[in-house]
């Protein structure tokens, strides 16, 4: 069952829609700068399959990129980011409205192979944290090694930031991070980030 996001856009609420102004107002510029915003309604598909099986190749074809097999890595195409979540698990992230198409393609790729494709677009929302201070903000609540020698664009991790489990996806070297957080925890995470950026 899928939803065409655009037709119903006026009915949608993202978990942090009401915070947009506060997130924007928290922006700091300059060398210690940091920006925070929600990117709502991204398409997210949880994909489970055997990376060595025939479905993996079909999925790669459908996505236009091989499934990342290196732990904690991301493969990005023009319109998708495929995040490694586990040895047989990925999160395919696409643009708002793309979920039905991606889901369909992945289901076809999976075929009769054991595995699963689950639309989890509304399960998590995405917070983007960027700017020269973004890393030090995250380091206030995340025990991962985020130094460029250890983490960088193309890397993702499921980890904990300030008591909240999330998927961390670094998208560029500025650095910018996406924090994919479950809807029910989004408010807490946003509050925490606002507090940490204000430090």
């Amino acid at each position: 069952m899928t939803v065409d996001g655009f037709a119903l856009a006026h009915l949608r609420r993202s978990p942090l829609g009401h915070l947009a102004d506060r997130l924007a107002a928290a922006e700091a510029t300059g060398p210690g700068g940091v920006r925070l915003r929600e990117i709502p309604f991204l398409a997210q598909l949880n994909l489970r399959l055997d990376p060595a099986g025939p479905a993996a190749a079909r999925a790669a074809e459908a996505l236009g990129a091989p499934l990342p097999t290196l732990a904690g890595s991301v493969v990005a195409t023009a319109d998708l980011r495929v995040l490694w979540l586990g040895p047989d698990e990925w999160l395919v992230v696409g643009a708002d409205g793309a979920a039905p198409t991606i889901e369909h393609a992945l289901r076809r790729a999976l075929g009769d192979e054991p595995g699963s494709v689950v639309d989890v677009s509304a399960n998590r929302t995405t917070l983007e944290l960027s700017g020269p201070s973004a890393r030090s903000v995250l380091e206030q609540g995340c025990s991962l090694d985020l130094h460029p020698r250890a983490f960088g664009p193309g890397r993702c991790a499921q980890t904990t930031v300030a008591k909240v489990q999330l998927v961390l996806d670094q998208i560029d070297a500025e650095p910018s991070y996406r924090l994919l957080v479950r809807g029910s925890f989004a408010q807490y995470l946003a509050d925490w980030l606002l507090d940490a950026t204000g430090e």
Partner: protein, 101 residues
């Protein structure tokens, strides 16, 4: 705060994991064939060594995979990490770990 290397995700803080107790305790093939005492032992009795212990951990905040760790219960030194379902690696015979407390 132990540092445990998930076989997939690499080193993460202990707080990302769930502890699962002793490794290699299989659910009995036919529980109903067991006496109450044997079943009770399966339910409740686990090794509790002072020394190296093969135990289970699950990367709860990460890839959510269960795996096994050989950890020294005094020093917390970890001598092996291996996926669930694999046998406990045999330690190189010339090595012995030190007990300090």
């Amino acid at each position: 705060m132990l540092l445990i290397a998930c076989p997939w995700c690499g080193e993460r803080d202990e707080t990302e994991y769930h502890y699962g107790g002793q490794a290699h305790v299989a659910h009995p093939a036919d529980p109903h064939a067991l006496s109450d005492a044997e079943w009770g032992a399966y339910l409740f009795v686990r090794d509790n060594p002072k020394g190296e212990f093969a135990e289970r951990w699950m990367h709860a905040a990460g890839c959510r995979r269960w795996f096994n760790v050989v950890r020294h219960t005094v020093t917390h030194d970890i001598s092996a990490v291996y996926p669930a379902g694999q046998p406990r690696p045999v330690p190189p015979s010339d090595e012995h770990s030190e007990v300090t407390a």
